[in-house]
Protein backbone atom coordinates (compact mmCIF):
# COMPACT_ATOMS: atom_id res chain seq x y z
CA UNK A 1 0.00 0.00 0.00
CA UNK A 2 1.34 3.40 -0.78
CA UNK A 3 0.61 6.20 1.59
CA UNK A 4 -0.26 9.27 -0.35
CA UNK A 5 -0.31 12.72 1.01
CA UNK A 6 0.97 11.99 4.49
CA UNK A 7 3.43 14.46 5.84
CA UNK A 8 3.82 18.08 5.05
CA UNK A 9 7.47 18.19 4.21
CA UNK A 10 9.44 21.32 4.77
CA UNK A 11 6.82 23.41 6.42
CA UNK A 12 6.64 21.33 9.55
CA UNK A 13 8.74 22.45 12.49
CA UNK A 14 11.45 19.93 13.26
CA UNK A 15 12.61 20.16 16.83
CA UNK A 16 16.22 19.14 17.48
CA UNK A 17 17.26 17.16 20.48
CA UNK A 18 19.53 19.12 22.76
CA UNK A 19 22.99 17.84 23.58
CA UNK A 20 21.78 17.77 27.17
CA UNK A 21 18.70 15.67 26.58
CA UNK A 22 19.80 13.14 29.17
CA UNK A 23 19.73 15.77 31.88
CA UNK A 24 16.10 16.58 31.25
CA UNK A 25 14.60 13.62 33.01
CA UNK A 26 15.71 11.48 35.94
CA UNK A 27 15.12 8.29 34.00
CA UNK A 28 17.24 9.54 31.11
CA UNK A 29 20.03 10.48 33.52
CA UNK A 30 19.96 7.07 35.12
CA UNK A 31 20.14 5.59 31.65
CA UNK A 32 23.24 7.56 30.78
CA UNK A 33 24.85 6.63 34.09
CA UNK A 34 24.07 3.01 33.36
CA UNK A 35 25.72 3.30 29.98
CA UNK A 36 28.72 5.08 31.49
CA UNK A 37 29.22 2.15 33.83
CA UNK A 38 30.84 0.52 30.81
CA UNK A 39 33.83 2.82 31.27
CA UNK A 40 34.30 1.43 34.75
CA UNK A 41 33.96 -2.06 33.41
CA UNK A 42 36.94 -1.27 31.22
CA UNK A 43 38.75 0.18 34.21
CA UNK A 44 37.99 -2.99 36.13
CA UNK A 45 39.63 -5.06 33.39
CA UNK A 46 42.65 -2.80 33.30
CA UNK A 47 43.06 -2.88 37.04
CA UNK A 48 42.62 -6.63 37.25
CA UNK A 49 45.24 -7.19 34.59
CA UNK A 50 47.57 -4.83 36.43
CA UNK A 51 47.07 -6.82 39.60
CA UNK A 52 47.69 -10.12 37.88
CA UNK A 53 50.70 -8.77 36.07
CA UNK A 54 52.32 -7.45 39.22
CA UNK A 55 51.61 -10.67 41.09
CA UNK A 56 53.20 -12.58 38.25
CA UNK A 57 56.29 -10.41 38.25
CA UNK A 58 57.22 -11.36 41.78
CA UNK A 59 56.67 -10.27 45.36
CA UNK A 60 58.53 -7.00 45.02
CA UNK A 61 56.48 -5.80 42.13
CA UNK A 62 53.41 -6.89 43.97
CA UNK A 63 54.35 -4.79 47.00
CA UNK A 64 54.96 -1.80 44.73
CA UNK A 65 51.59 -2.36 43.20
CA UNK A 66 49.95 -2.44 46.63
CA UNK A 67 51.58 0.89 47.42
CA UNK A 68 50.27 2.36 44.23
CA UNK A 69 46.82 0.91 44.82
CA UNK A 70 46.54 2.24 48.34
CA UNK A 71 47.15 5.77 47.18
CA UNK A 72 44.03 7.66 48.29
CA UNK A 73 43.34 8.83 44.75
CA UNK A 74 43.41 5.32 43.42
CA UNK A 75 41.28 4.11 46.30
CA UNK A 76 38.76 6.85 45.65
CA UNK A 77 38.66 5.94 42.00
CA UNK A 78 38.09 2.32 42.87
CA UNK A 79 35.31 3.16 45.29
CA UNK A 80 33.61 5.11 42.52
CA UNK A 81 34.22 2.31 40.07
CA UNK A 82 32.81 -0.23 42.48
CA UNK A 83 29.67 1.85 42.85
CA UNK A 84 29.24 1.93 39.10
CA UNK A 85 29.90 -1.78 38.80
CA UNK A 86 27.24 -2.52 41.39
CA UNK A 87 24.89 -0.20 39.54
CA UNK A 88 25.62 -2.20 36.44
CA UNK A 89 24.88 -5.43 38.25
CA UNK A 90 21.59 -4.15 39.65
CA UNK A 91 20.34 -2.80 36.32
CA UNK A 92 21.57 -5.81 34.39
CA UNK A 93 19.84 -8.26 36.69
CA UNK A 94 16.63 -6.22 36.61
CA UNK A 95 16.54 -6.09 32.83
CA UNK A 96 17.33 -9.74 32.21
CA UNK A 97 13.81 -11.05 32.76
CA UNK A 98 12.49 -8.39 30.38
CA UNK A 99 14.91 -9.29 27.66
CA UNK A 100 14.69 -13.03 28.11
CA UNK A 101 11.40 -14.39 29.37
CA UNK A 102 12.27 -17.65 31.07
CA UNK A 103 9.78 -20.44 30.64
CA UNK A 104 9.68 -23.60 32.69
CA UNK A 105 7.33 -26.25 31.40
CA UNK A 106 5.42 -23.76 29.30
CA UNK A 107 4.81 -21.32 32.15
CA UNK A 108 6.52 -18.01 32.37
CA UNK A 109 8.69 -17.63 35.43
CA UNK A 110 7.87 -14.41 37.29
CA UNK A 111 10.57 -11.78 36.92
CA UNK A 112 11.11 -11.52 40.67
CA UNK A 113 12.15 -15.16 40.69
CA UNK A 114 14.57 -14.62 37.80
CA UNK A 115 16.09 -11.61 39.53
CA UNK A 116 16.41 -13.47 42.82
CA UNK A 117 18.10 -16.40 41.06
CA UNK A 118 20.69 -14.09 39.59
CA UNK A 119 21.50 -12.58 42.95
CA UNK A 120 21.91 -16.06 44.32
CA UNK A 121 24.41 -16.72 41.57
CA UNK A 122 26.15 -13.47 42.39
CA UNK A 123 26.56 -14.44 46.03
CA UNK A 124 27.89 -17.90 45.16
CA UNK A 125 30.35 -16.51 42.63
CA UNK A 126 31.55 -13.82 45.02
CA UNK A 127 31.99 -16.27 47.86
CA UNK A 128 33.93 -18.61 45.61
CA UNK A 129 36.22 -15.85 44.41
CA UNK A 130 36.89 -14.69 47.96
CA UNK A 131 37.66 -18.22 49.02
CA UNK A 132 39.99 -18.69 46.07
CA UNK A 133 41.96 -15.53 46.65
CA UNK A 134 42.07 -15.39 50.40
CA UNK A 135 42.66 -19.00 51.42
Amino acid sequence: MTGTGTGTGQRAYRPRMSLWWWARKRSYTLFILRELSSVFVAWFVLFTLLTVWSVARGEERYEQFLDFASNPLVVALNVLALAFLLFHTVTWFNLTPKAMPVKVRGRRVPSTVVIAAQWLGFVVVSAFVVWLVVS
Partner: protein, 116 residues
Protein backbone atom coordinates in the same frame (compact mmCIF):
# COMPACT_ATOMS: atom_id res chain seq x y z
CA UNK B 1 20.41 -13.69 4.84
CA UNK B 2 22.15 -12.14 7.79
CA UNK B 3 25.68 -13.14 6.76
CA UNK B 4 28.27 -10.42 6.86
CA UNK B 5 26.36 -8.74 9.69
CA UNK B 6 28.66 -7.95 12.59
CA UNK B 7 26.03 -6.34 14.77
CA UNK B 8 24.54 -9.62 16.07
CA UNK B 9 27.98 -10.81 17.14
CA UNK B 10 28.86 -7.51 18.71
CA UNK B 11 25.60 -7.68 20.61
CA UNK B 12 26.17 -11.24 21.78
CA UNK B 13 29.64 -10.34 23.02
CA UNK B 14 28.13 -7.32 24.73
CA UNK B 15 25.55 -9.49 26.45
CA UNK B 16 28.03 -12.12 27.52
CA UNK B 17 30.27 -9.37 28.83
CA UNK B 18 27.31 -7.81 30.60
CA UNK B 19 26.65 -11.01 32.48
CA UNK B 20 30.32 -11.56 33.23
CA UNK B 21 30.75 -8.01 34.48
CA UNK B 22 27.60 -8.16 36.57
CA UNK B 23 28.64 -11.41 38.22
CA UNK B 24 32.42 -11.08 38.61
CA UNK B 25 33.43 -7.46 38.41
CA UNK B 26 32.16 -6.14 41.77
CA UNK B 27 33.83 -8.80 43.87
CA UNK B 28 37.08 -8.79 41.91
CA UNK B 29 37.45 -5.06 42.00
CA UNK B 30 36.51 -5.09 45.65
CA UNK B 31 39.29 -7.58 46.39
CA UNK B 32 41.99 -6.21 44.12
CA UNK B 33 41.11 -2.54 44.37
CA UNK B 34 40.18 -2.22 48.04
CA UNK B 35 40.62 -5.28 50.18
CA UNK B 36 44.20 -6.13 49.20
CA UNK B 37 45.67 -2.60 49.00
CA UNK B 38 44.01 -1.55 52.24
CA UNK B 39 45.09 -4.72 53.93
CA UNK B 40 41.63 -5.96 54.86
CA UNK B 41 42.81 -9.33 53.72
CA UNK B 42 46.45 -10.20 53.25
CA UNK B 43 47.08 -13.53 51.59
CA UNK B 44 50.81 -14.18 51.07
CA UNK B 45 52.20 -13.61 47.63
CA UNK B 46 52.90 -17.28 46.98
CA UNK B 47 49.33 -18.27 47.75
CA UNK B 48 48.03 -15.56 45.50
CA UNK B 49 50.26 -16.57 42.68
CA UNK B 50 49.16 -20.12 43.17
CA UNK B 51 45.47 -19.25 43.05
CA UNK B 52 45.79 -17.01 40.02
CA UNK B 53 48.19 -19.25 38.23
CA UNK B 54 45.90 -22.21 38.14
CA UNK B 55 45.05 -22.89 34.48
CA UNK B 56 41.33 -22.76 35.15
CA UNK B 57 41.62 -19.41 36.91
CA UNK B 58 43.64 -18.04 34.02
CA UNK B 59 41.14 -19.16 31.46
CA UNK B 60 38.20 -17.89 33.48
CA UNK B 61 39.87 -14.52 34.01
CA UNK B 62 40.70 -14.26 30.36
CA UNK B 63 37.08 -14.99 29.46
CA UNK B 64 35.76 -12.41 31.91
CA UNK B 65 38.25 -9.76 30.80
CA UNK B 66 37.71 -10.21 27.08
CA UNK B 67 33.93 -10.36 27.37
CA UNK B 68 33.86 -7.34 29.66
CA UNK B 69 36.00 -5.40 27.19
CA UNK B 70 33.58 -6.13 24.38
CA UNK B 71 30.75 -5.19 26.67
CA UNK B 72 32.50 -1.89 27.25
CA UNK B 73 33.23 -1.37 23.57
CA UNK B 74 29.66 -1.91 22.47
CA UNK B 75 28.03 0.12 25.17
CA UNK B 76 30.49 2.96 25.01
CA UNK B 77 30.08 3.15 21.28
CA UNK B 78 26.36 3.74 21.64
CA UNK B 79 26.92 6.14 24.52
CA UNK B 80 29.01 8.26 22.18
CA UNK B 81 26.37 7.98 19.49
CA UNK B 82 23.47 8.98 21.73
CA UNK B 83 24.86 10.84 24.69
CA UNK B 84 27.23 13.00 22.67
CA UNK B 85 25.30 12.73 19.40
CA UNK B 86 28.37 11.61 17.53
CA UNK B 87 26.68 9.03 15.31
CA UNK B 88 28.07 10.79 12.26
CA UNK B 89 31.54 9.64 13.25
CA UNK B 90 30.18 6.11 13.43
CA UNK B 91 32.98 4.40 11.57
CA UNK B 92 35.76 5.98 13.57
CA UNK B 93 34.01 5.31 16.85
CA UNK B 94 33.22 1.74 15.94
CA UNK B 95 36.79 1.06 14.87
CA UNK B 96 38.14 2.75 17.99
CA UNK B 97 35.88 0.96 20.47
CA UNK B 98 36.10 -2.57 19.14
CA UNK B 99 39.77 -2.01 18.29
CA UNK B 100 40.42 -1.22 21.94
CA UNK B 101 38.55 -4.36 22.95
CA UNK B 102 40.60 -6.49 20.59
CA UNK B 103 43.91 -4.99 21.74
CA UNK B 104 42.86 -5.25 25.37
CA UNK B 105 41.92 -8.87 24.94
CA UNK B 106 45.25 -9.59 23.29
CA UNK B 107 47.05 -7.92 26.17
CA UNK B 108 44.97 -9.93 28.60
CA UNK B 109 45.84 -13.13 26.80
CA UNK B 110 49.51 -12.20 26.85
CA UNK B 111 49.50 -11.46 30.55
CA UNK B 112 47.32 -14.32 31.65
CA UNK B 113 48.72 -17.01 29.40
CA UNK B 114 52.36 -16.04 28.93
CA UNK B 115 53.51 -13.79 31.71
CA UNK B 116 51.64 -15.49 34.52
Amino acid sequence: MPNREVEPFAWMAFSAGGVAAAMFAPILLFLFGLALPLGWVSPDHAGLLDALGHPLTRLALLGVCAAALFHFAHRFRYTLYDGLQLARFGTVITAGCYGLAVLGSAAAAYILLLVL
